[in-house]
Amino acid sequence: MQEFNENDKMLHLVQTNHNLLPVIHRFGIRLGFGNRKVGELCSEYQVNTAFFLAIVNTFHHKHSFPEERLLSFSPLLIVDYLRKTHDYYIHSSLPQIEVLIHRLLQSTPVQNSEMKMIGTFYLAYKKKLLKHIEEEEKVVFPYVEKLVLQPETVEDRSFDINFEKKHEHVDLELDDLKNLILKYMVPEYDALVCNKLMDEIYSFEKDIREHSRMEDVILIPQVVHLLKTAK
């Protein structure tokens, strides 16, 4: 499979797949690439090149997930990356979707006030997702970091590996949101707003699916392994 490597120009990545731009930004790498290569820009921004490439390649080839390669990276890198994706959801995807849903519903006739429930549904979904994210940031991630950096100080060995199963319910609701809009929307609405909203929801869905996979298939097995090997 053709994979991006450190000698590719960064520009080439974005020109091949513009959906990679948010991922590149997530690593703190900014535009103004010029003709610089991936390796050059990564070292300039102090980003681990191999890890960066593993992530962009996973995003680009949606049918492949380099499990073994990802497992070989330090859990600290994984946690750091997961935090950055959380930031992106909190400050970009979620507010964006909220604004677009609001605008979409405002464009529907007043007499269809029941449609407003879609907005209420989204807000409830968002609240649940944010709670899940907060639990990860406050409990899971610090636990993992402690396990790597100071394993001797970790007293609680009973890490709940089923914790991440919770996001399955949340994923289900995102799917329901799509169906409620696509199948049961009243026909009078602003089509441009709707297109933008669906674009945003689909790309958020893809992003969060990769994110969940990172947690389930990479981070959690790493924690289990650390717990086994630590004294």
Binding site: H63, M115, M117, T120, N179
Partner: protein
Amino acid sequence: MKGRTIIIVHPFDLVCRGLAGVLEELQGIRILCFSSFSEIKIVEHTPAENLLLFVPADCRYADELLELRTHLGEHCLVGLTANKTAAPHQKVFDHVFSLDDPASEFVGLAESYFRKEKTSQNDELTNREREVLRLIAMGHTNKIIADKLFISTHTVISHRKNITEKLGIKSIPGLTVYAIIQKIIGPGEISPDQLL
């Protein structure tokens, strides 16, 4: 993520990507590609309700294929051959396809395999299902719904399954919103924490 998954194992990248590309036209199915059997342990992490696997029907992989077959249970295993005449280990496969078969046959197989679970193309709810949905939206448990409608909990569960399949909506908050949009229940009739 639960759902329908297609796994393609083949040493040739071109075969993996070509087949994935062809099958992509089926919506709502996750497709994963692997170049060798050793990578496929990802399956353990993928609690798929419905799994369709395409693997090379090649006697070099006899051991791996047998092992896979025993692990797969009722999931569907499809062997890929270079041409129809040379198809060893037929017994482990549910189907054997040749790489010179038309693309539409691959799509047709996947489509009919995944369609088995769908009972209805019609999303119109019956009166009884509307009643059950109304009670779900009010936050009642299966037991209470059963008592109110003088039916068994088993019947309630089967109504719920049909409702979810017809509407494509799976969560309770989602069903509640649907019931309000369709005026099956008024917004004032649900408890405020029903969406949480």
